[in-house]
């Protein structure tokens, strides 16, 4: 089950990937219900409050951050939108608030240190989960499976290619659905 956070000013955010976890995700990517991606980091904590930074980020830029092509300092100090969002959560029970911060007004002590990079040697960021897209993908799988079974299919696809496609689609569906045990059953 996906982690859902309730973030002031951004609403419900679904955590897409956690890069560092300590008691909770402290460096992670997340998306809003509208599909907007953010890179988030625990920025500050003292006796009175804690702060988090959220940088709106495109999928392409996030993949560069994940691979280490862009370091984390740059990811937050030069956000694509030109500003960050700073969430301040007081410990005295008053309501949290969200403040926009222009990129040239961000304090260095709230940013990851320069040169610090992620180094995720995996496939690019999984396509954002969407139940409709997953359903469509499964329909494609059914068509491919059927093409393997039928000798006179309208779509003549070599069996070896079908097998490769099915393997790749299986991996994609595992990523999409979060179900690592999902298998494409050729018997279905």
């Amino acid at each position: 089950m996906a982690d859902i956070l309730n973030i002031t000013g951004l609403g419900r955010l679904e955590i897409v990937e956690t890069y560092i976890y300590y008691d909770q995700p402290v460096l992670f990517s997340c998306k809003s219900a509208a599909g907007h991606l953010y890179l988030a980091v625990a920025a500050d904590k003292n006796d009175q409050h804690e702060s988090w930074l959220f940088a709106g980020i495109s999928t392409e830029r996030l993949n560069l951050v994940r691979s280490g092509a862009i370091d984390l300092h740059n990811a937050f100090s030069e956000p694509e939108d030109g500003f960050l969002l700073k969430e301040i959560i007081p410990y005295d029970g008053t309501l949290p608030r969200m403040e926009p911060i222009q990129s040239d007004h961000i304090s260095e002590d709230m940013l990851p240190m320069p040169g610090e990079r992620l180094n995720i040697k995996t496939d690019p960021l999984p396509i954002l989960r969407n139940s409709e897209d997953i359903a469509k993908l499964r329909e494609v799988v059914k068509i491919l499976q059927k093409s393997q079974e039928e000798t006179t299919s309208k779509f003549t696809i070599p069996n070896t290619l079908t097998g490769v496609l099915l393997t790749q689609l299986e991996k994609l569906l595992q990523l999409q659905s979060g179900d690592q045990d999902y298998k494409i059953n050729p018997e279905r």
Partner: protein
């Protein structure tokens, strides 16, 4: 042993074991204080839609100091943890329950659930800054 009222019914999980052994935790204060042992849900329940879970009611510790040292290095990426220190503590069953919850990077990560009345900061001392 009594657990905080906000704990969900399945917390700690049945797989958890009585706390024991040496653990390491990143702390903000020297000496360690109660604030270093507050769970994310305690500090900000609204963030989790006021829904406590096994995860957000637990604390992170390592049983291998190398994991803590490595994590401290990694925490250069996370401003909030940049000035933390590594504290060592000797756990016992009165301090709650733990479960081995390793990650691919940190094999000795454990989750720790602390009961009402326990004062874990008393048994921790700073060993590395």
């Amino acid at each position: 042993m009594e657990w905080p009222d906000f704990y969900p019914a399945d917390c700690p999980p049945t797989e958890a074991e009585p706390a024991s052994g040496t653990v390491y935790r990143l702390v903000q204060y020297n000496p360690a204080r109660a604030e270093d042992f507050k769970t994310p849900f305690e500090e900000n329940p609204g963030r989790f839609n006021n829904k406590p879970s096994i995860r957000n009611c637990g604390l992170s510790v390592h049983t291998d100091m190398q994991d803590s040292e490595q994590l401290k290095t990694v925490m250069k990426m996370v401003p909030r943890f940049r000035d933390t220190q590594i504290a060592e503590g000797e756990l016992n069953p009165t301090l709650g329950m733990t479960q081995h919850t390793p990650s691919s990077k940190y094999k000795s990560h454990h989750s720790w659930w602390v009961p009402i009345g326990a004062k874990p900061w008393v048994v921790f001392k700073i060993i590395s800054g």
